[in-house]
Amino acid sequence: MKSDAELVKTCLKGQKEAFGQLIRRYEKSVRAVALRILGDFHRSEDATQEVFIKAWNKLPSLRKPALFGPWVTKIAKRQALDIAKRQKSFLLLNPELSEALPNSDGQLSSEKRRLIEAVMSLPEKQAQLISLRYFARHNVRDLAQILDRSVGTVTKQLSRAHKRLRTILERDRK
């Protein structure tokens, strides 16, 4: 299992296959961000594609290859906001309206959107860890390799991220 930094460096040498691995690794994280902002599966699918194309084009400007995850998530946030702006997305401006929308028709339930929001409000590295663990479904051993940390550190960091997520969700409920 190659780390993000290794994959980015390989991409920069012109080997596009490595970028495919990064796409698979972060597809769900990017989709989650797009979904939270756009509130719609179809538009978030298009946005995800655009985000990775943009990321490929901007890869040489990535200052820290190990931070590919947080970086691509930021691109996703910006891209989704741009799309929402262009399409005059009232969902973004009127969260109450989005609550009322049926979740059976291409929409994510408000509870799940709150959960994504909570994940995205975590410190960058914790959000990356949660995304890789649950969205990309990597086990702890893989995570340790991807993030170039020890298994023990990853376990502790995951536990802290869970705790923080619970606090955020409980605070939101109040």
């Binding site: 991409c11 920069l12 040498k13 012109g14 596009k16 970028f19 495919g20 796409i23 698979r24 597809e27 769900k28 989709r31 989650a32 979904l35 599966f41 699918e45 995800t48 594609q49 990775f52 194309i53 490929w56 084009n57 901007k58 890869l59 040489p60 400007s61 990535l62 200052r63 970086w71 930021k74 691109i75 946030k77 910006r78 906001l81 741009d82 702006k85 262009r86 994510l108 339930s109 799940k112 959960l115 994504i116 994940v119 949660i130 663990r133 649950y134 969205f135 479904r137 536990s159 869970h162 997520l165 619970r166 969700l169």
Partner: protein, 415 residues
């Protein structure tokens, strides 16, 4: 259920709900392949693609240019002229590191700034750090570190660290052609082709001194009262200095000087981030989700410039400093509030008309404004000789106010 298991289950459910696209990799790769030109072997930034396209377009122009420039008549003597702008342009292809010092007079003082640039294999900027000890009120000292798609700004006076996504030169309203000679040269070659500038090559300076290229603007053009002088090193073809002048009362007055040095002297990469530089108690504001500026919509440039200035004063009038800050450099509300120093705007007396900046490197608009203020029970007239308004985001044509020249004086007979 163990709380950890509960949150894990929620996250797993969420992951199942997000869905995925089995063909995403294939679709993205297809688009990447389609956008790859034969000369592109690595992922490239948009700016680099533009440069490559310009090269191909330039090939034909340069062939003609070279033909015409082989001989030029100078001082009654025919001498060979080996130099043309494209020689410098080519020289910049191998430049990876560069230091720029800018100075410009403001009243009796000189303001300075420094910029460090890192360029990629094609000589285009990939990282920059800009810093100035004073960039005017209310900000004071300012440092920006960034790439073409993200930036960090450090405003010491407010112990504030802004971080965001976007082109720092657009957000902070400075023209990158002023700092990057390569981008400038590309622009000049295009402008020369479109007959928007007049180039004068002076090869008659002593051999140990730089050759001088003077750029003027045709009579009747917006920038007709401006002049630029480029000092080009004879050995390397790299630019060592650029002076920019504006004509006032038939005399050219020096407005700005950029000195370029440190070519290919490697810069420590830590210069391009604020890691370990910011105090522990710094206030960090993520600007990526902040609504910035005003979209142009159907308004003309003049109209949008006047409208954003009007909205800024209206917001300040109702103490909506958050909105005022969004319109003024996306500044946090407490900075804008501090800039007004407890003054209440009682009335907006006039706004506009807006007019374009004549500076050849600027796409900004200027808009004057007047307002009546109350400070401590006394009335004052605020005169904004100009509020500078610039496009901060090209896609949606979003404008922000990026500077102002304001004077405040008591209103005679009222206090």
């Amino acid at each position: 259920m163990n709380p950890d298991n509960n949150i894990e289950k929620k996250l797993e459910d969420l992951a199942n709900n997000i869905g995925s696209d089995d063909k995403l990799v294939e679709k993205v790769m297809k688009q990447i392949d389609a956008s790859d030109s034969p000369e592109k072997h690595e992922p490239m930034q948009k700016i680099r693609r533009i440069v490559m396209n310009r090269y191909s377009k330039l090939a034909a122009i340069l062939a003609i240019f070279m033909g015409l420039a082989i001989w030029s008549q100078m001082g009654g003597e025919v001498i060979p002229s080996a130099y043309a702008l494209h020689d410098s342009l080519e020289a910049y292809n191998s430049i990876k590191w560069l230091y720029v010092k800018e100075s410009h007079p403001v009243g009796n003082q000189t303001r300075t700034s420094e910029t460090w640039l890192q360029c990629d294999d094609y000589g285009n900027i990939i990282r920059l750090r800009f810093q100035t000890p004073y960039c005017g009120e209310p900000i004071g000292s300012l440092a920006i570190a960034g790439s073409f798609d993200s930036f960090d700004a450090w405003i010491q006076r407010y112990n504030t660290h802004l971080t965001g996504y976007g082109n720092p030169s657009e957000i902070f309203g400075f023209d990158i052609t002023e700092l990057d000679p390569k981008t400038l040269l590309e622009k000049l070659i295009q402008q020369e082709k479109a007959e928007q500038i007049i180039l004068d090559f002076n090869e008659s300076t002593p051999k140990n001194e730089p050759r001088i290229v003077t750029i003027t603007y045709p009579q009747g053009s917006l920038s007709q009262n401006w002049k630029k002088v480029l000092y080009v090193d004879r050995a390397t073809n790299l630019i060592s200095k650029i002076e920019k002048f504006q004509k006032r009362n038939d005399q050219f007055i020096l407005k700005k000087t950029h000195e370029f040095s440190g070519y290919n002297d490697q810069i420590d990469l830590s210069m391009f981030t604020f890691d370990d530089e910011l105090p522990d108690n710094v206030k960090t504001i993520d600007m990526s989700a902040v609504e910035v500026g005003l979209e142009q919509g159907d308004m003309t440039d003049e109209e949008v410039a006047a409208e954003i200035v009007r909205q800024f004063f209206e917001a300040a009038m109702t103490n909506d400093f958050e909105r005022a800050g969004q319109l003024y450099l996306a500044a946090p509300d407490y900075m804008v509030k501090n800039a007004f120093m407890g003054a209440n705007i009682l009335e907006i007396s006039s706004i506009g008309p807006a007019y374009p900046d004549t500076d050849p490197d600027s796409k900004a608009m200027f808009c004057p404004a007047k307002a009546i203020l109350e400070i401590g029970g006394e009335h004052y007239e605020l005169t904004a000789n100009w509020m500078k308004v610039n496009v901060a985001e090209e896609t949606s044509k979003t404008w922000v106010i990026c500077g102002s020249s304001i004077t405040v004086k008591p209103i005679a007979g009222v206090n």
